[in-house]
């Protein structure tokens, strides 16, 4: 070992961290609105294994985003617990990074600056280490050429790829994704499904992915959870046993998707029936 050399700290930083195991136990959350108290989540329990890719599907307003925010630590449940690797989640932290529907990139920083932002909050890294790490992730999302670009110069898909690089940069154990591709066009989205699966495989993260797009969920998830609204709870669970990388347009995928869509509709119908 030589003096003063911080060799290895970048490799250390880029080394795979063990992905988290999540245990969500009887989580409830209600909101007050003008129409009265709405039960957004009703004793939702769910376990996510290490490096598992779980998709949560449901109609808008079914509480799936609320659940994601609670796992992130951005919101507190009224009751119930969220454990990440056995430890209760009480506040947001960079172990569990969130990607929102909007890229939420900072316009006063360029692309590289945005990816550096979470790294600057990590102690024990030199300036050079941070840059190397940021550049590694920009390469992973294939945006090296744009590291000096301003955010407004990027397309919607590129913005979400920067957001993905920024979320990956501090090497979190969990990625929480809240409809990150919902605002993109179909072609860009399909390309990002490929990117996300490739990155998930190489970086080994636990991913909880919320969407209202059934085919997207089948294409990405090991498991798809169907959420029913009012109150939000897990209605049904589907294990997707399709080889990866998955083709969004394959017949097998469509079969799964139609089964889930069918269940989604029948859930909505039974809800309408009980409402009457």
């Amino acid at each position: 070992m030589r003096f003063g050399h911080k060799t290895g700290s970048v490799t250390e930083e880029l080394a795979l961290v063990s992905p988290s195991k999540l245990a969500i136990d009887k989580v409830s959350k209600s909101f007050r609105s003008r129409a009265g108290t709405v039960l957004a989540l009703d004793r939702v329990s769910l376990n996510v294994a290490e490096a598992e890719f779980v998709c949560i599907v449901g109609a808008s307003g079914c509480g799936k985003s609320t659940l994601l925010n609670i796992i992130a630590g951005l919101e507190k449940p009224d009751s119930g617990t969220v454990l990440a690797d056995g430890k209760p989640v009480t506040a947001p932290g960079r172990e569990r990074l969130v990607m929102f529907q909007e890229p939420a990139l900072f316009p006063w920083l360029d692309v590289l600056g945005n990816v550096l932002f979470p790294l600057k909050l990590k102690p024990n890294l030199t300036k050079k280490d941070r840059r190397d790490v940021a550049k590694y992730y920009l390469e992973l999302v294939e945006l090296t050429r744009f590291e000096r670009s301003n955010i407004h110069e990027l397309s919607g898909g590129m913005k979400q790829r920067v957001a993905l690089a920024r979320a990956l940069a501090p090497n979190p154990r969990v990625l929480l994704m809240d409809e990150p591709f919902a605002a993109l066009d179909a072609l860009t989205r399909e390309q990002l499904y490929g990117d996300l699966q490739r990155i998930w495989k190489s970086r080994r993260k636990t991913i909880v992915f919320v969407t209202h797009n059934v085919r997207e969920a089948v294409c990405l998830g090991d498991r798809v959870l169907l959420f029913s609204p009012h109150p939000g709870r897990v209605q049904e669970e589907f294990i997707i046993e399709l080889p990866r990388p998955r083709d969004l347009n394959s017949v097998e995928l469509a079969t799964y998707a139609s089964r889930i869509t069918h269940a989604l509709k029948s859930g909505a119908q039974s809800e309408a029936a009980t409402a009457k």
Binding site: A72, G73, L74, P92, G93, R94, R96, L97, V98, F100, E102, A104, F106, P107, W108, D110, F117, P118, L121, K122, N150, I151, H152, E153, R166, P170
Partner: protein, 254 residues
């Protein structure tokens, strides 16, 4: 280059019109001197150092007062944006006082501080402060909440969020508030210098005032030109680069 030439041509035409008005004797030469006379006056005050001295005194007052206004206004604006109590109290006060033309502070400053530098500074600070408070407050309120949430998940906390997320996100608003504050301060300082003859320094406003006393129109117009040029330069040197940066980064139209 073409734009520059066009601007030069425009001002040349303006001066030619002035020249023509002088020779046509529309007004008495006492009321409207020729451009050459004004140039002659400016040449004298430049060579004998009067102009330089007056400019330094005025700019020093302006800069000191402006910086005090900024240092006070930024944190006050952050306070009013962060806590309702401050918004309802200081925020309302700022809103009210900002509508007061800053010249209106001159009589009060004179009575409170007499013919002193403090009176000058007070007027400049009052011109700057409230604009900066309101702009900072508005800027912070316009920051999309998603930035805060994103920063929170990345491990950013209280002070870090304020310094590295909220403040830069509010920058476009803050800069336009700073610009407005500068304009108000500049106007009120000129008014104060015209009203207040003090012994501690002879600024541009006082030169203008004595021009009037002596009915020296070449002096009045000459000093007015200097004041305009300083205002333009301040805009180009202090604010334009910052605004260009903001427009480039945010992708807004310049």
């Amino acid at each position: 280059m073409k734009r520059f030439l066009l601007a030069v041509l425009f001002f040349a035409v303006l001066i030619a019109l002035w020249e023509w008005a002088f020779f046509a004797k529309i007004w008495s030469p006492v009321l409207l001197p020729a451009p050459q006379q004004v140039a002659e006056y400016l040449k004298t005050v430049v060579t004998d150092g009067t102009l330089f001295q007056a400019t330094v005194i005025t700019m020093r007052r302006l800069l000191i007062g402006y910086v005090i206004g900024l240092i006070g206004g930024l944190p006050l604006g952050l306070l009013t944006a962060r806590w309702k109590v401050f918004h309802d109290t200081i925020g309302t006060l700022a809103l009210g006082l900002q509508t007061l033309p800053s010249v209106c502070w001159v009589p009060l400053a004179l009575l409170w501080f007499g013919q002193t530098e403090a009176a000058m500074l007070f007027v400049v600070v009052m011109g700057t402060l409230w604009s900066v408070v309101i702009a900072t407050d508005t800027g912070v309120r316009h920051v999309p909440p998603i930035y805060r949430r994103a920063a929170l998940t990345m491990g950013s906390k209280r002070l870090h969020i304020w310094l590295k997320v909220i403040l830069p996100a509010a920058l476009p608003f803050i800069v336009s508030g700073m610009k407005q504050g500068w304009a108000f301060a500049w106007r009120s300082l000129m008014a104060a210098e015209i009203f207040v003859t003090i012994l501690t320094g002879f600024g541009l406003g006082q030169l203008l005032h004595y021009g009037r006393e002596l009915s020296a129109m070449d002096q009045v117009i000459g000093i007015m030109l200097v004041i305009v040029v300083i205002g333009l330069l301040a805009d180009k040197i202090l604010f334009s680069p910052v605004e260009r940066f903001l427009h480039r980064r945010w992708g807004t139209n310049p």
